[in-house]
Structure formats: C-alpha cells, structure tokens
C-alpha cells in the first residue's frame, strides 16, 4: 500500500516535470491522473488498489467517533440513574487479529465502546480481558465487537 502511494507521488512529480508547471494545482492534477494509471494497472501489484484502504481507514475513524458518543450516553445513564443496578465483571474475548498495531487499535476501540474497558491482553496476543460495566449483555457486546470492529480493522489491513 505504501509503495502504491509513493508511486502515485512519483507520477505526480513526473506530471509536473512534463507540463513544466510547478504549482500545487499541477501536483494535484498529476496525482489524479497517476491514480487513474495505478487503478488501470492494479492487477500487477501484490496488494489491492490503495484507495480502498484509505476508504477503510476513514470508515474506521467514523466508527471511533460514533462509538465514543454512544459510550458517553451509556455512562451518563448509569451515573445519573437513581440506583446503581449494574453488575460489573470481567470477561474474556478471543480475537482473530494478529499484528500488534491491529490489537492496539481494537483495544482502543473497545475502551471507547459503551460499557467496556480493556484490562489486559494475554501474553500470546490471543485473548483480551475486558471489564464490562454490565455483564448481562456480554454476548451482545461480543457479537458487536466481532462483527463491526474486527471486520473494520481487517478491512484496513487487507
């Protein structure tokens, strides 16, 4: 992916040299046409066309934001309810992610989701121990994490 971005920059500079115009506009024009060329020649690269990864990163960012807002509303409800009826607990979650940075991002996302906070990552990077504010909906939380976050992170690293 990094290679494709670098190549796109390189093509943009070649465009600037060819048109003998060293302005920002020329750079963006060259970047656009270079992107088209890379898209046309995408089957010669080992990885897929890099704009898809960029879109996946943007999606992940929006998931981050929306989860942060939802988490805050959930915490607000718990704090301001007249009685403390929650049942906290720690549960284990097995993850399929392997690389360190993926697990870091997953842990940060879980920390920002409603009612969960990562306590520890096991030594073999396979299990996350999560403290939940309300253990009743653990299965639901598990499914949410599996379906939305892991999928989004995998989409980025593919």
């Amino acid at each position: 992916m990094a290679f494709q971005i670098l190549l796109n920059f390189f093509l943009a500079f070649i465009w600037m040299f060819l048109s003998n115009d060293y302005s920002t506009l020329a750079f963006f024009k060259g970047y656009f046409f270079g992107g088209l060329i890379i898209f046309a020649l995408r089957r010669f690269f080992a990885h897929r066309f890099y704009l898809l990864n960029v879109i996946a990163v943007i999606k992940l960012f929006f998931i981050f934001c929306s989860e942060l807002v939802k988490a805050n509303i959930a915490v607000l409800k718990v704090i301001l309810s007249p009685k403390l009826t929650m049942r906290p607990g720690i549960f284990a979650l097995e993850t399929e992610l392997e690389k360190d940075w993926e697990i870091t991002i997953l842990a940060n996302l879980i920390t920002l989701t409603p009612g969960t906070l990562v306590l520890e990552v096991s030594e073999d990077n396979k299990i996350l121990y999560i403290h939940a504010m309300d253990i009743d909906d653990v299965e639901q939380a598990r499914l949410d994490i599996k379906n939305s976050f892991e999928k989004a992170i995998k989409e980025v690293s593919r």
Partner: protein, 118 residues
C-alpha cells in the same frame, strides 16, 4: 451567520462542560476503581474533545483563523486517553485492588489460577 456560529460554539462548549461534570459525579458516585475508571476515561475524553472542538470552531467561524494546534490537541487526547485508562485499570488489577462486591464474573482470575496450577 455569526449568530448560528455562536450558537454552535456555545452548544459544543456547554456539552463538553456537561460531560466533564458527569464524569466528576461518576468518580464520586460509582463503587470501585474499575467502574470509576469507566466514567473518568470516557466522559472526560468526550468532554475535553468537545470543548476543544468548540474552541476550534470559535477561532474558525468568528476570528476566521484555523488554529491547527487545537486540532492536534484533539488528536492527541483522542489517542492517549484510552491508553491511559487501560494502564490505570491494569495497574490496579495487578496491585490486587478488589472488584466491587456485586461483580459477577472474573475470567482473568480463573485464567491466572489455571496458569499457576500448570
């Protein structure tokens, strides 16, 4: 135009202040370290974020000046606060701080016990 932007700025800053207040109430009210940490690490993050966002909007809409340092501050808080929450939780757990007596489940304890037995 100025009125609308003032409204947005005021709304964001008041919202941030409200979230910070709720976080403070949560730290006083919740029963144990772990649940307190929930309140502190989530609500105060969003509180600080929306106050900073309101500040950025103020500079942008009323002074017509994009202050990139405020944006950087938002990014740094966004990245570092969940990590800080995680580290405090982990340190508390390893020090042996007890869970609340109404806690129902502790998978980490069982996992550690199983490891010791081996």
């Amino acid at each position: 135009m100025i009125e609308i932007s003032k409204f947005i700025v005021g709304f964001l800053i008041l919202l941030g202040a409200l979230f910070s207040l709720v976080a403070a109430i949560g730290v006083v009210r919740l029963p144990d370290t772990y649940t307190r940490n929930h309140a502190a690490s989530k609500s105060s993050t969003l509180g600080v974020l929306s106050i900073l966002l309101g500040l950025f909007m103020y500079y942008l809409l009323i002074d017509h000046h994009a202050n990139a340092r405020v944006l950087l501050g938002i990014v740094f808080v966004f990245i570092t606060s969940p990590v800080a929450g995680h580290l405090i939780m982990r340190a508390a757990y390893n020090m042996g701080v007890p869970l609340w007596h109404k806690s129902v489940r502790d998978d980490l304890k069982t996992a550690r016990k199983a490891k010791k037995r081996r």
